[in-house]
Point group: C2
Chain length 215, copies 2
C-alpha cells in the first residue's frame, strides 16, 4: 500500500521525519477536521480552507458552487492539499532549536470533479461522517437541489507524504547546562460541552457521538 516516493513528496528538510506509508498518511487525514487546498487563480497562489474525507485511495474535498475560488478547482486543477495536526510546543534552551511536535500530510494531484450522483451522494455522506462518526445516518441527506449547490472534488492519494515530529527538543551540547527550562508542552483539541440550537426541541438530548466526541 505504500506509495512511490516522487521528487515532490521526498521530505528533504529533516528527512528523518518523513513517512511514506499509507497507514501513517491515512491516520493523519482521518483525524484532521479540515485541510488547506492550494491552487492557482489567474496565475497566483490561493488557499481554500475546507473540509475533507478520505475514502480508500481518494481524498474528497468539499466546495460550494457559489464560491469563485472553488470554481477555479473545477476542471482538472493542479492542487496541493495540506493537513496539519499540532501536537505540542517544543521548547529548547536556544531560540534556534525551538520547534513544534506535529503530524502533517501533503497531497499533490489534480482535481476530478465528482459528477456521478451516486458517488456524489457517497462522498457527501463520507464528509458528514468524517466530522461526526455515524451522523450521516441520522440527518436529512441532500436533495437534488442541494447536491447541485455542492461541489465535491476527488484527489488521488497516489502522490502523498507525511511528516511527523515527536519528542523533546534537541539543543546544542554546550547549551544543555543553561539554566533554562526545556521540554514539551503538549496541546490537544478538546471538545467542550455541546450547545443546543436555540430552536431545538427541548426533549432531544445530544447523541453519544456528540457528548463523547473524540477524534
Amino acid at each position: 500500500m505504500d506509495e512511490p516516493v516522487t521528487p515532490r513528496t521526498t521530505v528533504r528538510r529533516h528527512p528523518e521525519r518523513g513517512a511514506y506509508d499509507r497507514a501513517t498518511i491515512d491516520a493523519i487525514l482521518d483525524e484532521a477536521l479540515y485541510c488547506h487546498v492550494a491552487t492557482l487563480v489567474e496565475g497566483s497562489p490561493r488557499i481554500i480552507p475546507t473540509i475533507h474525507a478520505r475514502s480508500g485511495d481518494v481524498l474528497y474535498v468539499h466546495g460550494s458552487t457559489a464560491s469563485r475560488t472553488l470554481r477555479a478547482l473545477r476542471d482538472g486543477a493542479e492542487v496541493c492539499v495540506a493537513v496539519t495536526l499540532l501536537d505540542g510546543l517544543v521548547l529548547a534552551r536556544s531560540a534556534f532549536n525551538h520547534s513544534m511536535n506535529y503530524r502533517s500530510v501533503m497531497v499533490y494531484g489534480t482535481t476530478r470533479e465528482v459528477t456521478d450522483p451516486g458517488e456524489k451522494w457517497e462522498a457527501q455522506a463520507a464528509l458528514v461522517d468524517h466530522v461526526v462518526h455515524g451522523r450521516a445516518g441520522h440527518v436529512r441527506m441532500p436533495d437534488e437541489q442541494e447536491l447541485k449547490q455542492t461541489s465535491i472534488f476527488a484527489v488521488s492519494l497516489a502522490e502523498a507524504s507525511a511528516k511527523v515530529r515527536t519528542g523533546p527538543p534537541k539543543d546544542r551540547d554546550e547549551d544543555y547546562g543553561l539554566p533554562v527550562w526545556a521540554g514539551e508542552l503538549p496541546l490537544r483539541l478538546e471538545p467542550q460541552d455541546p450547545i443546543a440550537d436555540p430552536r431545538l426541541d427541548a426533549g432531544l438530548p445530544p447523541p453519544a457521538n456528540v457528548t463523547r466526541y473524540r477524534r
Copy 2:
C-alpha cells in the same frame, strides 16, 4: 487602520462572514500558532506549514535555508498565507447545512527576505515570543551562524481579510421539526501537563508562561 478591500480579499461566499478591520485580523494572526504559506514551485502550487509572528503591519514567516521549498520563497515570491482557528462543529438537521465555526485570515503579498541583522534578530525574538509570551528574554538567542541558517520572510498586511463564523446552524424552515439533535460542539486547543526534557536539570521548574499557558 482598516485596509482597502481588493478583489482578492473580498469575501464573496457568505459575505456576512467577511471582516476587513485590522483589529479582527491581528487578533486571529496573534492567536494562531502556525500558518500555511502557498507559493509556486516550478509552476505548481506548494504549501509550507510554518510559524509566523506579526509585528505591526508585517507578518514574519519562518523558514530554514536548508529547505528547498523555502528557497523558492526567496526573491519576492508571490504568496498566499492562511491562518485558520477552528472554534467548533456546527451540526445541523440536514447534511447540507453542516458547517464549522472558525476564524480565518488570508494574506496576499510578495515576500521580502529579511537580511538586515537587526531586523532579523528582532523577527527571531518575535517568533519565539509569539509561541510563548516572554520566552525570548529567557533563552539563548541565535548566534551569527544560527541566524545564517534561518530564513525569515516579511509579508505586508496591506492585502488581508478575515472570515468568521459563529453561532448555531441554519437549517431550512421545514427541517426544524426533524427529530435530529442540532447545535454546536465547541472545540478548544488546550495545553496538557508540560513534559520536562529528559536531560533537564531536575531542579528547574517550568516557568509560569508554560504552566499557565494560554493563547
